[in-house]
């Protein structure tokens, strides 16, 4: 039977959390299929990270080390992974939907002429007792609260990307795994070469770690912009976020976008302001403890995914809410 693989990602010698989360999901899938779980790790002097991959679930680590793999190199990484897949023929390959993972995954899938599903929120196996078990890849679909199941029925491997924060990593377990060192042969002439990776700290509270996230959407257009959202976030000590339309309107930077192609957040309180509730957006806060939604349209699908919904003009409700919160001093 064919293994389940996780393409692990390291930046400047540190593993990305999504790689460990994918090992958590991978453990579950591999157990169900009664196959091994392997991680692929590329970098320079990153052997020590193999232990983390094993203790978070990998039975085997394919390790490729070379000074020229220190930084992500799209052409070389894609070639190496595609060749490795071609040799070992895993049934499933999981890749973190980080900026680098999203650069790498489509190139690999195109090399292998196989299917790739982006930003899966759920992965499960069907027909596991047959010769061709299928990976059901669930992505938020269009309109209201619909979810879409996607399969790659014939070609292999089945490749899926998953955003950080969607899956849960296993507990650390002291265990032994097999480390397989790859013979890395980097071409001398690179057509595309990463020269440098510059790390910049983000200003403002990190979305993924905030206890309160207040996100604004398209509906704020008629309410005169984003100031109302910022004020609400300030009174709660929360982080400001937004929907894709809010990003495209230039109200908030891209790295503050919540949703399928943005951040996934799990705060204690998530407040949605003026967002209709497109699934691409609501997929980003499925695991929030409490969801408060405010919108003027009583039929907006956002209210289907809210604990408390406030219907009315944003310009009227938000100031009242701010006043009320100030008076009662809600503690999160």
């Amino acid at each position: 039977m064919n293994e389940v693989w996780v393409i692990a990602e390291q930046r400047l010698g540190k593993l990305m959390s999504v790689s460990l989360e994918l090992l958590g999901k991978g453990t579950e899938l591999a157990r169900q299929l009664k196959v091994g779980l392997a991680a692929v790790l590329l970098g320079d002097k990153v052997r020590a990270l193999s232990r983390q991959l094993v203790c978070y679930g990998a039975d085997r680590v394919y390790l490729g080390e070379d000074p020229r793999l220190r930084l992500y190199q799209s052409e070389v990484y894609a070639d190496l992974v595609a060749k490795l897949v071609d040799t070992h023929k895993p049934g499933i390959v999981l890749i973190g939907a980080t900026s680098i993972g999203r650069d790498l995954a489509p190139r690999i899938a195109a090399k292998l002429k196989t299917g790739l599903t982006a930003h899966c929120v759920e992965l499960r196996i069907v027909n596991e007792d047959t010769e061709k078990p299928q990976l059901v890849q669930v992505v938020p679909g269009w309109g209201g609260s619909l979810m879409v199941n996607i399969a790659c029925p014939v070609r292999r491997p089945q490749i899926a990307t998953v955003s950080p924060g969607v899956m849960t990593k296993c507990d650390w377990e002291e265990r032994e795994g097999e480390i397989i060192t790859l013979a890395v042969d980097v071409q001398q002439e690179l057509r595309v070469e990463t020269l440098e990776m510059v790390h910049e700290e983000r200003t403002g509270a990190a979305l993924e770690e905030a206890e309160v996230v207040v996100a604004g959407g398209w509906g704020l257009l008629s309410a005169g912009g984003f100031e109302l959202v910022e004020e609400l976030a300030k009174v709660l000590g929360g982080a400001v976020a937004g929907t894709r339309p809010a990003v495209d309107s230039g109200w908030i930077p891209e790295h503050r976008m919540v949703g399928q192609s943005g951040k996934t957040v799990s705060p204690k309180l998530f407040i949605s302001v003026g967002a209709s509730g497109a699934p691409q957006f609501t997929a980003g806060f499925l695991k929030a403890k409490v969801v408060l939604a405010i919108d003027q349209n009583p039929n907006a699908p956002i209210f289907d995914v809210a604990d408390i919904g406030l219907v009315g003009d944003l310009c009227d409700i938000l100031p009242c809410l701010v006043t009320e919160l100030k008076e009662t001093g809600l503690r999160i």
């Binding site: 680098i100 930003h119 070469e193 990463t194 790295h255 409490v290 995914v305 009242c320």
Partner: protein
Amino acid sequence: MSLNIIVCVKQVPHPEHFSRITLDPIRQTISREGIPAVINPLDLHALEEALRIREELSGKVTAISMGPPQARCALEEALAIGADDAVLLCDKSFAGADTLATAYSLACGIKKLGRFALILCGNETIDSATGQVGPQLAEFLGIPHVTSVIQIAFEQGSSLIVRQALEEGYMKVRVKLPAMLAVAKGINQPRLPTVWAIMEAGSKEMQIWGASDIGATQDMIGLEGSPTHVTGIFERDTTRRREILEGPPRQIAKKAVNRLHELIAT
């Protein structure tokens, strides 16, 4: 240096009307009937970057799209903004394509167009947001790609130095031409079409090519050429309380804050 630049654009539903989009559960296709369509917002940034490069170095900008007949409106808009000519890949047999089949079809169309130095597209579309077509197109054409591009600078010779945005920071990447770059929002501010440009657009050429015109192999395009299939559609399972409050703003705000206290404490 004169460059042929190709800009890939996609017609998408207007984001304001996302909630009106429905999936046909029997045909398992998306119904966008009556929903206004626009050029995918990030593709406008790709077009803007192409026009700036043309203005600086001279060259030609060709917009290409794959889609139904009405997708020509998106290309007409691209011509009005400043593209020199346009190609629409339109054929019933393209329908149902996933990203791999779409990338293959675009690659066939681009090969027919001939020599090019640069392909630009938006980093992702606002509808499905996979961001996969650009890199897959580059693979079919055998050229390098860079995604999340927020800055492009020309170097001596035929290479570029670009900035690729990361979650925290960026990477500096050197890429040799010809190349495919998927651009992110921060790269520029797209221009609006001028009245003069709109008038001029009418005289520009738009080609419409079917599968046989671009020599596409039938088993690589459309639904048949798509390794991924939609196998089911279901309602999202929500376990939220859905306590909807309507009424005077001050009253419902007070009620909501009281309930928040209770819910967060539990």
